[in-house]
Amino acid sequence: MALPVNATRGQHVWYWCLRLICAVGFLFLIGPIVIVVPISFSAGSFLSYPLPGFSMRWYDAVVEPFPWMFALENSLIVAVSTTIVATALGTLAAYGLTRADFPGKPFVFGLLISPLAVPLVITALGLYFFFARVGLVQTHIGLIIAHVVLAVPFVVITVSATLKGFDWNLVRAAESLGARPLAAFFQVTLPLILPGVLAGAVFAFVTSLDEVIVALFVSGPAQITLPRQLFTGLRDQLDPSIVAIATILIAFSLALLAVVELLQWRSARQRSRREE
């Protein structure tokens, strides 16, 4: 987007206005994330600049068993379980949804991804009442079930999208060579759609790891997750160990972003290769 040589004065003004707005916008987006990171290495306990010196003391607080490591452990248990269940159920459903038509398919698809469209607090309320009646409030299982509900639409969407470009003749070929449907799925389909499945799994993992509203409703003291602990910490006493944990999570999202970009790039490359 360069200015034409014959640009009028008005166009010049507009051009630089646009650039200015964009600069402010990008600074606004990335600034807070960049600014808090150094504070976590501060030797002092004030959350501002200039930093009195460098230290890792707040990271020492983070690796204490309580509260952060306990919360991290809970978060990982819940997120890993959620990812496994959501990826399995979601991939299966996406496979069924693309394999053949059946009556009411658009409706079923809409229903499966509807947890995305309902405000989280409403889902949390419904789950809370439901769990209260069946005795799943304040249990790990309950929290995992709740997170699967929230995570599974991402798996369905990503895997369905990957399957749209899938060449079903490969499955027919496998079956004509005597492969049973299950073997054909695991040996032919799954390896080909793996980037999509993994991307879905990453989405599911992040959804669970980042979720706090449902956790506030249905979990108890024994299921405190990382976001819940962050929420409590931010509300009750704000200290730099929160910034330290935030920094760790930012690094983690950077890594995940890289993984997803890589997966999407690979799956796009595969699709374009097939189209050639």
């Binding site: 987007m1 166009q11 646009l18 707005i21 964009c22 916008g25 990008f26 606004f28 987006l29 807070p32 994330i33 808090v36 504070i39 959350l47 600049y49 159920l89 496979y95 069924g96 949804l97 394999r99 053949a100 059946f102 079923v108 499966l112 509807s114 947890p115 469209a117 309902v118 405000p119 989280l120 607090v121 409403i122 889902t123 949390a124 309320l125 419904g126 789950l127 009442f129 439901f130 079930i145 709740a146 699967v148 509900v149 992040v206 980042d210 706090v212 509203i213 409703f217 976001p227 962050l230 931010l234 509300r235 704000l238 929160i242 910034v243 935030a246 999570l249 999202s253 950077l254 995940l256």
Partner: protein, 420 residues
């Protein structure tokens, strides 16, 4: 590929004598069934754990069993009472008997709590009556009960009992829109101390509206720049949008809490740069909520917009200019219409997500910046008022549902604009 219906292929007809067409149809049915069976586990899961519980909110918003559970006969008697003047001795006798029993087995608190929703102070009145109920030895109960607490002689308290008799009530749904049912069955405005819910609804919409407006104002130029600039810069800029997008909502809220504090980075900078003489209050007010919410939701607007803008050839604007269109006219008639589907999708995403915001206002907003979600959480987890929590959840859900047709219209309108 199915053959015309009047042709049957004798050669391939199987031993069952079915035509090829019938066999094909059967095979397709089988395939449909297999496909459905693969979807079935997740469908069942979502129905039981998601759709069911959401629908049950409708039930909980009208369910009103508390009083009838604890004091069933009282509930029956007041349900038949017309409410015009104080009930007779029988009603008083039943109340005394049932409060005595309920106080004995400690179930009275649930009923007292329910009555307190009607008139505040009713809870303590019932509890006190329960404590002193031993003093009532025999009839006449009416005088005895009024002797314990003269409010038992006040008809408004009896009308409150009648309103709580259950088993179903419209009070929560009406209260969610600041209405109440009077004792004679008419519907009117609730007393001022309870007409807070429409305020919350309006505030929720206004906050969402302003967040959306800011997102468009900043996000549209950003998406435009990403879509039209050179490939390399575009990648970097896109990463700058994606990183916050992937960062935990709570981490970003935490960053803003740290930045916006009275002794935080933003205030220190303003003082240092001489832009302000004293620390500004940026947190626990509306400013902070807007800043943090726009920051969190901005990528949801930029990404769909960018996806659409990427596919608009730059040559179109040049063509428009060469045909004599001024830049503004070219933008309005050539560029903007083509971005409407992306803009619509982004707007609806941002608006719907912000309608349901809870965490950010709870941590960065003050008491007057809380939205509907906050009320739902308060009623559900703090006061245990399931009816009210459900009614407000339905109000919020309806608000969100009402926006989907708008979104559809927007996208369709955009398509019509393009081809019309």
């Amino acid at each position: 590929m199915s053959p015309p219906p009047d042709i049957t292929d004798e050669g391939t007809a199987g031993p069952t004598g079915l035509s090829l067409e019938a066999k094909l149809r059967r095979a397709q049915r089988q395939r449909s069934l297999n496909a459905f069976l693969l979807v079935a586990p997740l469908l069942l899961f979502i129905l039981v754990v998601f759709a069911g519980p959401i629908l049950s909110l409708l039930y909980f918003s009208v369910d009103d069993p508390k009083l009838a559970e604890v004091m069933p006969r009282t509930a029956e008697i007041v349900a038949e009472w017309d409410g015009a003047e104080l009930p007779g001795e029988e009603a008083y006798a039943t109340v005394v008997e049932e409060i005595r029993a309920a106080y004995g087995d400690r179930t009275v608190a649930a009923a007292a709590m329910r009555l307190n929703y009607e008139i505040s102070g009713f809870r303590s009145m019932v509890m006190r009556t329960g404590r002193k109920i031993r003093r009532i030895a025999g009839p006449p109960y009416k005088e005895a009960l009024i002797g314990l607490d003269e409010r038992w002689g006040d008809i408004t308290y009896w009308r409150a009992i009648k309103a709580s008799a259950g088993p179903y009530t419209t009070r929560y749904l009406l209260a969610a829109v600041d209405l109440e049912r009077k004792w004679d069955g008419s519907i009117g405005t609730a007393p001022p101390e309870r007409t807070i819910y429409i305020d919350y609804l309006e505030r929720t919409f206004w906050i969402s509206f302003w967040v959306l407006a800011w997102c468009i104002a900043i996000g549209y130029p950003m998406a435009y720049l990403i879509a039209t600039t050179g490939r390399r810069l575009s990648r970097i800029l896109l990463a700058l949008v994606l990183l916050p997008f992937w960062t935990s909502l709570l981490v970003r809220t935490a960053a803003w809490v740290v930045l916006l504090q009275n002794k935080g980075v933003v205030n220190d900078f303003l003082l240092y740069a001489g832009l302000s003489d004293e620390p500004l209050t940026l947190i626990f007010n509306r400013t902070g909520v807007y800043v943090a919410m726009v920051h969190i939701l901005l990528p949801f607007l930029v990404l769909p917009l960018y996806a659409v803008m990427r596919n608009i050839p730059a040559s179109q604007m040049r063509a428009a200019a060469s045909l004599g269109a001024k830049p503004v006219a070219a933008f309005l008639s050539v560029y903007l219409p083509q971005t409407l589907p992306g803009l619509g999708a982004g707007c609806i995403l941002v608006f719907i997500l912000s309608l349901g915001f809870y965490i950010t206002p709870a941590l960065i907003g003050g008491a007057s910046d809380q939205m509907l979600s906050y009320l739902i959480a308060e009623f559900a987890t703090r006061t245990g008022n399931w009816g009210m929590a459900s009614a407000i959840a339905i109000l919020l859900l309806l608000s969100v549902a009402a926006l989907y047709p708008v979104y559809r219209g927007l996208v369709r309108g955009a398509a019509g604009f393009r081809f019309g």
